[in-house]
Symmetry: C2
Subunit: 429 residues, 2 copies
């Protein structure tokens, strides 16, 4: 059987499964999820065995220690994975929400109701827990999932999916479609373009991982893709900021967890206050070993600074302003005013998360309106852009796209909608 | 200058314009729209002159009469076009709506607010009034538009856009960005893939027209596309229907305006009532010259029917069930029950508009839940799927996609959203 034929079968089965999923009640879905969580916990020994095979071939493939560490499943990780599935069962059902309700002059009542999307392809890298996370979020939102993890995790991923499907069937019998959760069974790279050419069956693709992976997927896909690109996030310290608050937000946004997409990469500071506040901010960052890449004005302000922790300074290149460091490095640029800060962010940012620190409401409102990003904050750290922090319970990623979903994607963002029309025989005249 | 360079300049200017549009107030936008409406009406003679050039070269290109008729602008059409722009000014501003509002335990307030999408490319065929319609809807929703009409309408389209831009500038001065409304200046077909490769500037493409055009655009585009595909719409007459209502809805859905996408193409009727009701429905359709393409069971029921208006009958092929006739032709199929009707619709339909006629609420609820279409009706004609009928005021099209917008797309559907976070210094711990 050709690869395209194999992918077509997979996708066609997923589409049929999605029809059945659309008819499951909330109670049924939650029953199945609880059974899945129990099954994952119960199959921990078998899962660790499958994972050991993946680790072994990973070593042979020459994966580095960090990659092997991400790939590894132990008891603790499996318990956490099962608990995450149980948590999804406890979240409200995102399907069937009435988003609009209007009755027209002719008496026709129109309701806009949230629905599943249909068939969702998730493409991701090493961590096998993504398999359970993504599958449970998609299942709860009534979507059939086709999962494509890293080839190094294939055995682990297949066993996780199989355990979830078996648990679903034991909980719901034939009401649970066996193709609700599928793992692409081949590591062949050509499987991805084949699968993403099937617009008649696949409704959405979400790649999660490095920028290269996402660009490759988006480039080859004929189905809609919601991209979760990099986070080049900014803190703008306005002239009317409270300096202590500014300090605290800059330090938090950069250093609390520098490896994640909502960490700040660039500090912008208003020229009126830069001379007064920047040296102290820089000194504080130096205590945490943050390297600063600065524009000439900031460099001049900081160069002579001495203290117990020496500053690590170098001039910023234009490319630096586009870069997601995911590391203890921060660009620093002195800007003329809020308008210049907005322009910088819209030019160099990635539309992820940006914040202004100011006590001036008019300035803040302008910043909130003009910065074209998924999340724009006033007097808060960029680090809050996260499904959990937003009260969504869990997230499948953070979209930097503007069509379909933007920002943290929880269960509601895994839904589409349809219009229901309730008539009493209305015809159009 | 290469075509790609030319398109890049166009798109970059549009992106910059979209930043300025995002900062316009509702009052400013409405002022500009009213000035545009007045300008279109005022330039009627010049517009008819440009249109005469288009008509002349259209004749030389060998356009048929129907195409020339669609292309033609006269006083009446220009007045209607101007009025449509004025109507958009009177609609509520879709930007700035608060779609969600939550305060987290840490005091961080999160508001989900509607925003413009950014840069929208509209690709369409003959009618020049689409230029003014699309440009005004995009402008009101804060989006910069790049318009690509049929090459036969280039002069008319360019003059319409120029008149609108000039009016915008005279109303708002420098606050109105000259690149808010642009027409692709070349008829070169390669302009489309060039423009739709510019993911850094273009946020969305909406092709409007025949299936071939839409597929070509979707195939070459690297930016998100919202497709407005064909309407293969169904009426299902359930065993518990009121027969008079069923008759009225079938006749309306098929014959009231057969050329449009929300007209019905297939009648499904429950086997329990087919023998009793189908002959009368067929006879009524015969009075309106509707040709019936029937499955064997319906054919057997109808073959012996005589009357003043003879039935036009032929057997339906499987391909017929997939076909949008846009004509006085209706497929007729007898189905076992509501489940079979749902399966038929999900298999052969285009996810546009489908209706059930029944007095049985449980049957209706099942149909509404399971039919995977943009609009699903209970006891109403499929013909209601329309921005005007939905109270949206105007529509830019009817999406058969599930990501971004589904069903009629009015001003609200031309929006994205962002999250605003209002803090008092919150940091993440």
């Amino acid at each position: 059987m050709s690869l395209l034929q194999q992918m077509t079968d997979l996708a066609r089965c997923a589409k049929l499964a999605s029809r059945q999923l659309a008819e499951l009640s909330t109670t049924e879905k939650n029953q199945a999820l609880k059974a899945m969580a129990a099954a994952l916990a119960a199959c921990s020994p078998a899962l660790q065995k499958a994972n050991a095979r993946d680790l072994e071939s990973g070593r042979q493939m020459g994966l580095n220690d960090a990659m092997l560490e991400r790939l590894m499943l132990d008891d603790k990780r499996i318990v956490a994975m099962a608990q995450a599935v149980r948590d999804v069962a406890d979240l409200p059902d995102p399907v069937g929400r009435i988003l609009d309700d209007r009755t027209r002059p002719n008496g026709l009542r129109l309701q806009k109701m949230s629905t599943p999307i249909g068939v969702v392809v998730i493409i991701y890298e090493s961590r096998p827990n993504v398999t359970a996370d993504a599958a449970s979020l998609c299942f709860k939102s009534g979507n059939a999932t086709i999962l494509r993890g890293g080839k190094e995790a294939l055995h682990s991923n297949q066993l996780i999916a199989a355990a979830m499907v078996e648990a679903g069937r034991s909980a719901l019998g034939d009401r649970f479609p066996a193709s609700a959760i599928q793992v692409v069974p081949t590591p062949d790279r050509e499987a991805i373009p084949a699968l993403l050419s099937l617009t008649q069956y696949v409704d959405l693709c979400m790649p999660r991982g490095g920028e290269g992976l996402i660009r490759t997927v988006a480039d080859c896909s004929k189905v809609p893709v919601i991209k979760h690109f990099k986070g080049v996030c900014h803190v703008f310290v306005d002239r009317d900021a409270d300096p202590a608050m500014a300090m605290s937000i800059v330090v938090n946004a950069k250093t609390q967890r520098p490896s994640v997409c909502n960490a700040a990469e660039t500090l912008l500071i208003d020229q009126t206050v830069a001379a007064r506040w920047l040296p102290d901010i820089a000194a504080q960052l130096a205590t945490r070993n943050v390297e600063l890449r600065t524009d000439p004005v900031a460099l001049a302000l900081l160069r002579s600074r001495t203290g117990p922790f020496p500053l690590i300074l170098s001039p910023a290149t234009e490319q630096d302003y586009y870069t997601e460091y995911n590391d203890m490095i921060l660009n620093v640029r002195v800007v003329e005013d809020v308008a210049a800060a907005i322009n910088h962010i819209n030019q160099y940012g990635s539309g992820h998360s940006d914040t202004i620190v100011t006590a001036n409401e008019a300035t803040a409102r302008r910043f909130l309106a003009a910065v074209d990003s998924a999340a724009v904050y006033w007097n808060a750290s960029t680090r809050f852009t996260d499904g959990g922090e937003y009260g969504m319970g869990a997230e499948i990623g953070i979209s930097t796209d503007k069509i379909g979903a933007r920002g943290p994607m929880g269960l509601e963002e895994l839904c589409s909608y349809k219009w229901l029309g309730f008539g009493t025989g209305q015809i159009r005249t």
